[in-house]
Amino acid sequence: MTAAELSVGDVVAERTVHLTRESLVRYAGASGDFNPIHYRDDVAARVGLPGVLAHGMLTMGLSVETIVPWLGDAGRILEYGVRFTRPVVVDPENGADVAVTAKVGALDEGVARIDLTVTCADTTVLGKAQVRVRVP
């Protein structure tokens, strides 16, 4: 992949991943974030949430991983930022599907801005999810 091969608007990667309650427990263990709103329905209900939520950092992490095989080297990532705008509710039986589309948003002097569109149940869950990557 080189800058000359890219145009603004190109979709460079996309995938849909299925999250279950097991995914959330796995992320809790791997990250050390054991906030019970990510695995206990009673706690989620008590604090007024629509259900058990995926960790925002899990959504952020799986979203950027969508482009790593295309990049070939995670070391090309210069900057990555998101806003957490809507929760991902993970149903105990049916889980949740998170869809990620990565598009070239801008190109400038060996750096591409990749814009991630991340949705769950047709709702965008991350705002301004942008990755700045080095392109040779």
Partner: protein
Amino acid sequence: MNPDLVGRAFAPTAPYLVGREKVREFARAVLATDPQHTDPEAARALGYADVVAPPTFAMVIQDLTLQQLLAEPDSGIALERTIHAEQRFRYTRPIVAGDELTGRLSITGVRAVGKNAMVTSEAEIRDAAGDHVVTATSVLLIGGDE
């Protein structure tokens, strides 16, 4: 939320040694598929000493600094009233298994929003040589007292 936290000096966190199996565990948890995160040979082919951590692994180190913030007796922050609003990472290089990392916390902004506060917390993460690896920035929305 206490505005005096801006500019307060915090000690660096205790060194965190990044293990290969921890990187593999984290990679699996974020549904990573690329072999550079799990296969040392694939990582070496890219010029790294060992497996490459997924980009958001830096949060594990930043969390240690956020715990320092919560432990400040005058912080005025209660975890159950805290919402993670924004997150950003600026990388000099990726984290690789074998790195020994420390994070240094700074609070760069506190802004009142009604009864709540928007707090910007930054963790500068460096390796054992003192070289910059990544800076992680969180914007937290802290609910005011009921």
